[in-house]
C-alpha cells in the first residue's frame, strides 16, 4: 500500500498461543500499513484474530502468546523494543480504546485519577498541571468537566465510552486502535460516538485502526478496509473499492448479508457452514468449505495475498492467475 506518510507498518505478523491442547495460530502472516490521518477498518467474525492483532500491536497479549514478524513505528520494531522503549511507545505513539468501557475502567479510581495516571506516566508534569488538562480533555469528548470526580459505575454506558476515548487521546497519540468501540452501546449512542470520533480525528489528526464485526459501521467511516478470516487477511484495499467491487467471496457474503433502510427488502444471503475449526496443519484456503465459488484444488495450497488492482489486495485462488492456469 503506497503510504502518504506511514504511521504504522506491519509485515508478516504471526501470533501463536500455547494452550493445553497444542499451539494455536491465532494470526498468520498479516501485513498492512496505516498512513497519517487514515482509518483502517479491520473486519472479521468472532475468532478471526482481529482483537489479537490489536493487542499484538501494543504487546498486551497474555504470557502464553508468541509474536513474530515486524511491527514498525517511528523506525523501530515494536516487537523488539525494550521495556523502557515500550512504555514510551505505549499511549504516546499508539493508544487503545477497548471494547466494553465498564470493564476497561478501574472501578475504584475516579475518571480524573485515571486520566492523570496516563499523563503522569509519560510526562514529567506536576499534579496540578495534569489535573488542569483533565478538564480540557473531558470537554473535548463532550463530557461535563464537573463530573471529573465521578467513579465509572456512576456514569452511563455512552459516557463511559467517551471517558475511555478521552483517556486514549490524553497524550495525543499518532494512532488510536479502537476495538469494537460501540458494540456494547445502543444504536443511537453508537452513531453519536462514531460522529465524535470523526470530529476528533479531523481536529487532532490521528490515524485509527477500527476493529469491528459490523461491516456497515466500518465501511461508512473507514478510508481503507481489511477483511480477516481464520487469522489471515482475506482482502485489503481502499474502502470505497472494497465495498463497491468486493473480490473475496467472503467479503461479498458479508456485504450482501446486511440490509439497508431504503431500497429493496430482498432475501438476505446466507453463508452455509461454520467458522473454521482447523485441527492439524493448514489445508489450503480456509474459506473453502463455505465458499460458493470454490473449485477443486483450492483446498490444497494456501492462497497468497496478491495485488489484484492498484492498492487492492486479495488472498483468493480465483484471482491467482497461476492457479487458474492449472
Amino acid at each position: 500500500m503506497p503510504p502518504s506518510e506511514t504511521v504504522l507498518d506491519v509485515q508478516g505478523l504471526n501470533v501463536e498461543f500455547g494452550t493445553a491442547g497444542g499451539i494455536v495460530r491465532a494470526v498468520t502472516d498479516v501485513s498492512f500499513s496505516i498512513g497519517r490521518g487514515e482509518v483502517l477498518g479491520l473486519v472479521g467474525e468472532s475468532g478471526s484474530g482481529k482483537s489479537t492483532v490489536a493487542h499484538a500491536l501494543i504487546r498486551v497479549l497474555p504470557r502464553s502468546a508468541r509474536c513474530t514478524g515486524a511491527v514498525t513505528f517511528g523506525g523501530a520494531n515494536v516487537l523488539a523494543m525494550s521495556s523502557a522503549q515500550l512504555r514510551r511507545y505505549r499511549w504516546e505513539g499508539v493508544s487503545l480504546v477497548m471494547q466494553g468501557a465498564m470493564n476497561a475502567l478501574n472501578p475504584v479510581l475516579t475518571i480524573e485519577a485515571q486520566i492523570v495516571d496516563a499523563i503522569r506516566a509519560h510526562r514529567r508534569v506536576s499534579r496540578r498541571a495534569a489535573l488542569a488538562s483533565v478538564g480540557d480533555l473531558l470537554e473535548l469528548v463532550g463530557i461535563d468537566p464537573g463530573r471529573r470526580r465521578a467513579y465509572p459505575h456512576e456514569l452511563s454506558g455512552g459516557m463511559r465510552q467517551r471517558c475511555v476515548i478521552a483517556i486514549a487521546l490524553a497524550l495525543e497519540p499518532d494512532l488510536v486502535i479502537m476495538d469494537e468501540p460501540t458494540t456494547a452501546l445502543d444504536v443511537v449512542v453508537q452513531r453519536s460516538i462514531m460522529d465524535e470520533i470523526d470530529r476528533l480525528r479531523a481536529q487532532l489528526g490521528f490515524s485509527v485502526l477500527l476493529i469491528s464485526h459490523d461491516l456497515d459501521l466500518v465501511a461508512e467511516r473507514a478510508t481503507h478496509l481489511a477483511i480477516m478470516y481464520a487469522g489471515r487477511l482475506a482482502e485489503i484495499g481502499p474502502a470505497a473499492r472494497v465495498v463497491a467491487s468486493p473480490l473475496h467471496p467472503y467479503t461479498e457474503a458479508l456485504l450482501s448479508s446486511t440490509m439497508t433502510v431504503d431500497g429493496d427488502v430482498g432475501r438476505l444471503a446466507e453463508l452455509p457452514g461454520k467458522p473454521p475449526d482447523l485441527t492439524g496443519p493448514d489445508a489450503g484456503c480456509a474459506f473453502f468449505p463455505r465458499c460458493a465459488r470454490a473449485r477443486p484444488g483450492h483446498d490444497e495450497v494456501v492462497p497468497a495475498l496478491l495485488e489484484s488492482e492498484p492498492g487492492h489486495y486479495v488472498a483468493c485462488h480465483l484471482y491467482d492467475d497461476r492457479v487458474a492456469a492449472r
Binding site: V60, L86, W91, M98, G100, P107, V108, D117, A121
Partner: protein, 138 residues
C-alpha cells in the same frame, strides 16, 4: 507484659498469615485477568503502579470481607496460645474460669469477647465502605 507478648504474637501471626496469603493470591489472580489491567498496561504505567493501584486495590475488596471472620479466629487462637504460653489475657482467664466453673466470670468474659469481635467487625465494614466506592450511597 509487652515483651512477653512477642512469642505468642509471633505464633498467632505465623499460623494466620498463610490463609490471608492464599486468599489474597486467589483474589489477585482474578483481578489481574480483568480488562482494566490490560488497559493500564497499554497506558504504559509502571508495573509497580499497576500492581498496587489497579491490582491490589481491587483485590483487597473480597479479602476485607473475610477480615471480619478472621477477627473471630484470632480471638479463638489467642485463647489456645495464651494457655500454652501461660500469658495472662482474656483467653487464659476464660480457661481458668471454665475450669473453676466461675459462672459470673464466664458470662462477663464471653460478653466482652463478643463485644470486642462485634466492634472489630464494625470497623471492618466501615473500612470496606472506604475502599469500595460502589457501595457508597451519594
Amino acid at each position: 507484659m509487652i515483651v512477653h507478648a512477642v512469642l505468642p504474637v509471633a505464633t498467632i501471626v505465623a499460623v494466620s498469615v498463610g490463609n490471608w496469603l492464599i486468599v489474597m493470591r486467589s483474589s489477585m489472580i482474578s483481578v489481574l485477568s480483568e480488562d482494566y489491567i490490560t488497559m493500564a498496561t497499554a497506558k504504559g504505567l509502571s508495573p509497580l503502579r499497576i500492581a498496587l493501584n489497579y491490582g491490589a486495590r481491587n483485590a483487597l475488596l473480597p479479602v476485607t470481607t473475610s477480615a471480619g471472620i478472621a477477627v473471630g479466629f484470632i480471638v479463638s487462637g489467642a485463647l489456645l496460645t495464651e494457655v500454652v504460653f501461660s500469658y495472662s489475657g482474656v483467653g487464659y482467664l476464660l480457661y481458668t474460669a471454665v475450669e473453676g466453673l466461675d459462672y459470673p466470670l464466664i458470662q462477663g468474659l464471653l460478653l466482652i469477647i463478643t463485644v470486642g469481635v462485634l466492634g472489630a467487625n464494625l470497623l471492618v465494614d466501615l473500612a470496606y465502605v472506604l475502599l469500595d466506592p460502589r457501595v457508597r450511597r451519594p
